[in-house]
């Protein structure tokens, strides 16, 4: 007997999608396997590590403890949507410049969380950044160079908003 499925409609990185999913299908698996967007990773599947973070209607969520059906009608942003027109987002570029990644596994979730942090507060202090990224575990970097990268990216993003070249 085929499993029960539901139809969901959602936008992912600006692209509309309509899909049939089992109600129990986790959003992270839907993104990775059904939509072919493997950039969002799975670290724990119990909502603690934040590796699976994506944005849902601009707010960060843990896609490993979200059902795909709970994203019906939503707009999702994943790491694959950060770079635009072949250019890395300032956050991505600064993570590289500051060596804010080593193994890269937490990085997509961290980038999406950082994006939310800077949308809420475009000029955070290092302490504020640290407290905000405490939601996302990193096992490699000890968070120091991630914090530096977010601060640098914030400066660049503020400058480009003000019409000054970053």
């Amino acid at each position: 007997m085929a499993p029960d499925t539901r139809t969901i409609s959602l936008t992912v990185n600006g692209q509309p999608h309509v899909a049939q999913v089992e109600p129990r299908r986790l959003l992270v698996d839907f993104l990775r396997e059904d939509l072919g967007l493997p950039g969002t990773h799975i670290g724990c599947e119990h909502g603690v590590c934040g590796t699976c973070t994506v944005l849902l209607n601009g707010a960060s969520i843990r896609s490993c403890i979200t059902l795909a059906v709970q994203a019906d009608g939503a707009s999702i942003d994943t790491v694959e949507g950060l770079a635009q027109g072949g250019e890395m987002h300032p956050l991505q570029d600064e993570f590289s410049a500051k060596q804010g990644l080593q193994c890269g596994f937490c990085t997509p979730g961290m980038l999406m969380r950082a994006r939310e942090i800077l949308a809420e507060n475009p000029d955070p202090s290092p302490g504020q950044v640290r407290e905000a990224i405490a939601s996302n575990l990193c096992r490699c970097t000890g968070y120091q160079f991630i914090t530096e990268a977010v601060i640098s990216a914030a400066a660049r993003m503020r400058a480009s908003k003000e019409g000054v070249a970053p």
Binding site: P23, H46, G50, A59, S60, I65, E131, S135
Partner: protein, 293 residues
């Protein structure tokens, strides 16, 4: 770990939702709010509901409003919304402070106030807040709505007075504008509380706030449900708001507890944490009450 299979519905009204819970009673139905507590349990296959009723589309369950001396929060209101609400910050700043301590921001973006209360984790923040404020929890069932006082709502670990075919629709919190503190001890930042304390004080109208008129104290993480430290509240009512009195009240309250131990803290350490956080919480609540005069 992937969740087991379940039947699923996302009804549009409370009536439909409650009807589905009743209709599928044999399938061990569960309500899905934000899923931040339920889905991890399902991923671990510790919870295996045969039927999941998703409240995401049900109208009228979200929102914050003030009704005179009562702050009303819809059960499906996201914790992030409560955290940011100026209305809540004015009417019940204890709620604002407590909600900010629930896990991390991403969890609060999805998690709901009603979901946290209905989940009834003995170490959770919002149940302790509901208890401290003597909140009324409104439930809807096939027979209509009823009001369950917080003192009767939490019946055991992960267990509430809600019937299997009832859903929480709103929480009604008596306003308590100042003199609050929500403090907790967790081992790692924003991790679940080992011990948490909700402290509310109201100082004397006359003089410069030398005496406590009334206090409400609730603790999480020290018993199968959140508990009120009623003896300490009585001891503080009318008493001087000084260090020695507060210390004595906190110590007496802690001694009366019989918390369980786990890998994070023994019963003795939990009692010590309860004493410490009661003392710190009451002191902070008093300081804030004084600041507002």
């Amino acid at each position: 770990m992937k969740p087991p299979p379940f039947a699923y519905a996302a009804p549009d009204t409370v009536e439909e939702a409650v009807g589905l819970l009743a209709e599928h009673a044999d399938a061990e139905p569960r309500v899905l709010a934000g899923g931040q507590s339920l889905i991890p349990l399902m991923n671990f296959r510790l919870a295996k509901p045969g039927y999941l009723v998703d409240l995401r589309n049900v109208a009228g369950l979200s929102g914050i409003r003030r009704e005179g001396d009562v702050l009303v929060i819809g059960a499906m209101t996201k914790m992030a919304e409560v955290e940011r609400s100026p209305e809540v910050a004015v009417a019940a700043p204890l709620v604002t402070e407590a909600v900010g301590l629930v896990a991390h921001a991403p969890v609060r973006n999805s998690g709901t106030v009603g979901g946290s209360l209905a989940h009834a984790d003995p170490a959770a923040e919002l149940p302790a807040v509901a208890l401290a404020l003597d909140a009324d929890l409104v439930a809807a069932g096939p027979g209509g709505t009823r009001v369950i006082p917080a003192a009767e709502f939490f019946t055991g670990p992960y267990s509430t007075a809600l019937a299997a075919d009832e859903i929480l629709t709103e929480i009604r919190l008596p306003v308590w504008p100042g003199g609050h503190a929500f403090t907790e001890f967790s081992r790692v930042h924003a991790n679940f509380a080992v011990v948490a304390v909700a402290a509310l004080v109201e100082l004397d109208g006359d003089g410069d706030g030398d005496r406590i008129r009334r206090a409400a104290l609730a603790l999480a993480g020290v018993a199968p449900t959140p508990v009120r430290a009623t003896a300490a509240e009585r001891a503080l009512a009318g008493a001087p708001a000084d260090v020695a009195t507060i210390r004595a009240a906190a110590a007496a309250a802690a001694t009366s507890l019989s918390p369980a131990g786990d890998l994070h803290a023994s019963p003795e350490t939990r009692r010590g944490l309860a004493r410490t956080y009661l003392r710190r919480g009451i002191e902070l609540a008093v300081a804030r009450a004084r600041n507002e005069r």
